[in-house]
Amino acid sequence: MSRRRWLAVGRKALPFIFLTPLFIMIALSWIAPLFLTIYLGFTNLNIKNFLAFIRDFFTPRVKITIDNFKNIFLGQDPYIADVLKTTILYVTSVLMINVFYSLILSISIAYFVRNEIISMMLRVAWLLPRITPGIIYALLWLWFIDPTYGLMNSFLSLLGVPKAWLPESWLLDKPYSQILMIIVNGYVGASFGMIVYTAAIKSIPPDLINAALVDGASEFQVARRIIIPLLRWPMLFVTAWQTMSLLASYEYILMIWGAGGGGGYAGIAKAAGVMVWSLYSYSKAFAEYQYGYAAAISLILVVIGLGLIALYFKIFGFRRLMEPSRIEV
């Protein structure tokens, strides 16, 4: 009897034994920092009170304030408006590339190009920006835009862009630096969209397309009337997913403008107009050492992020989220 009871207890406990390491790791890397970010956002932690804070955070000795949020929302930080504008420009433009450009791209690659080998080669080439380690991708771009050694300007003149339109420095001259930021991140996003869309296009039953072709539809009509309507869900998925990751992504900007500018990323990013919200939070923390204020800035992203996740689950439902590339016919 007692042996059987032990077995029953064991059967109940076994899943949790298997899952405990997972829980510990998630608690360390996700849950604890998430709550800590919320807490930090309401303190004035900076380089001066740092050691005292590390000693006694979560005790009454730490002063809780809402000054950080006053600074952000009541315009006491003169730079917030600029950052907001840059972020909106960045997120919307890259999102356009991710959602619409990669749609045309995937239809070209997966439907217009009938030759399997060419189609696969194109797909691999478009995957390169995502596969490349970030710092190498940044290095490649820094070479490409270099005014003396790089090929960016020659490539553009070859395409017919007049010399007078080309800037002296893609890194520093303002509208161009923002264009560069959008292009660099656009390639990475385009390959994300391409992966999702090509998988979806490949899963469209060929009969559907062939029937339309036999009835005399042109391939453009097939793309417009059959493929695009069927890609509605993948498009929504890419939009939702990328909105959030774009809001939080600043790694390539940090690498390109930081390394290209000789190490100090904060000043050069501001001057070049590529200071996005998440990078602003990062630079407030690790270049200006105002950790509390920086946490408050990222806390706004956390709130947006949680809201968007709730929205995903509502729109897509659990099942669809797990199978991003499925389509409904």
Binding site: P15, I135, I136, L140, G150, A199, A248, V302
Partner: protein, 303 residues
């Protein structure tokens, strides 16, 4: 409907042929403008990386002149960087390997166990846990960098050399584990229950069944998450860049970041060579197991 098809059938064969030709021409024009021309810069960049690393001077961006291994001498002689000189690049490479291998080991161990439980065991809150994992996967982890910095400080792991690297390894593994568990759960799902049943009926304990029946069957899955997590650790930049200030404990991407700042106007050749050296594992894994990686990259990516 009938009138239009009637009209179409009245067109002569040759007009129809011309229209078809024009259509396929525009089709290929679209392909070239949308899918071919924009990718040329990326291919040029890769071409440059290869050519530049082996030549002393490069004309017009891509034409090599003078084959040399001068650029690769960082492999056996010092790398100067500002005031700091490295004996050579190997200690930094070892740091990078340390982080990547440590992360891979942790991720494989933890997520294989978790994936098995998620796929095979019935317990309360299973669906909720899976939803939670998906939600974590969608949540951008870089936002948490500041809080993680405080945690490292609290744990006394900041500015402690290898201890800091171990802390980074732990954090990075924790960030990758939700996704890895998800991937490996998919592999477990694809093994039929009957196989495990047979082992259990034959008198195996659950643990024994897991070790000697299931694990061999999901080796491809384990391979997939090892590659995924190794590459993730190998290319980790932000955590090391933010938390490691002592040059002795840099990893390759952080070293390259600082080298770009110092070398940009002097030595593109060496930068290209070091970059290529660093990209080798990624290129190898990508070319050998492209299908596997693609499957992972479809599953979900931060950016």
């Amino acid at each position: 409907m009938t009138s239009s098809s009637y009209r179409r059938s009245k067109r002569s064969i040759s007009t129809r042929r011309v229209i078809a030709l024009l259509r396929s021409l525009t089709k290929y024009l679209v392909v070239i403008v949308v899918a071919v021309i924009p990718i040329i810069p990326i291919l040029l960049m890769y071409g440059w990386l290869l050519v530049q690393s082996f030549s002393s001077r490069v004309v017009l961006g891509l034409v090599p002149s003078g084959l040399t291994i001068e650029n690769w001498k960082f492999l056996w002689s010092p790398v100067k960087m500002g005031l700091k000189t490295y004996p050579n690049i190997w200690p930094i490479t070892l740091n990078t390997l340390f982080v990547a291998l440590g992360e891979a080991a942790l991720v494989v161990l933890v997520s294989t166990m978790a994936g098995y439980a998620l796929s095979r065991m019935n317990f309360r809150g299973r669906v909720a846990l899976m939803q939670f994992i998906i939600a974590l996967h969608a949540f951008p982890s870089v936002i948490l960098l500041i809080a993680l910095f405080i945690i490292l400080n609290k744990l006394g792991l900041y500015g402690k050399g290898y201890l800091t690297l171990m802390g980074i390894m732990l954090i990075k593994a924790g960030l990758d584990i939700p996704m890895a568990s998800w991937i490996i759960k998919g592999f477990f799902d694809s093994i039929p229950w009957d196989v495990e049943w047979a082992a259990l009926v034959d008198g195996c304990t659950r643990w024994r069944a897991w070790r000697s029946v299931i694990v061999p069957l999901i080796l491809p899955g384990i391979g997939a998450i090892s590659i995924f997590s190794f590459l993730s650790g190998w290319s980790e930049f932000l955590l090391v860049f933010t938390y490691v200030k002592d040059e002795t404990y840099y990893t390759l991407p952080v070293l390259i970041y600082h080298l770009i700042g110092e070398f940009r106007f002097i030595n593109w050749g060496m930068l290209a060579a070091i970059g290529l050296f660093y990209a080798i594992p990624t290129l190898i894994f990508f070319s050998t197991s492209q299908k596997l990686l693609l499957r992972i990259y479809v599953g979900g990516i931060k950016r």
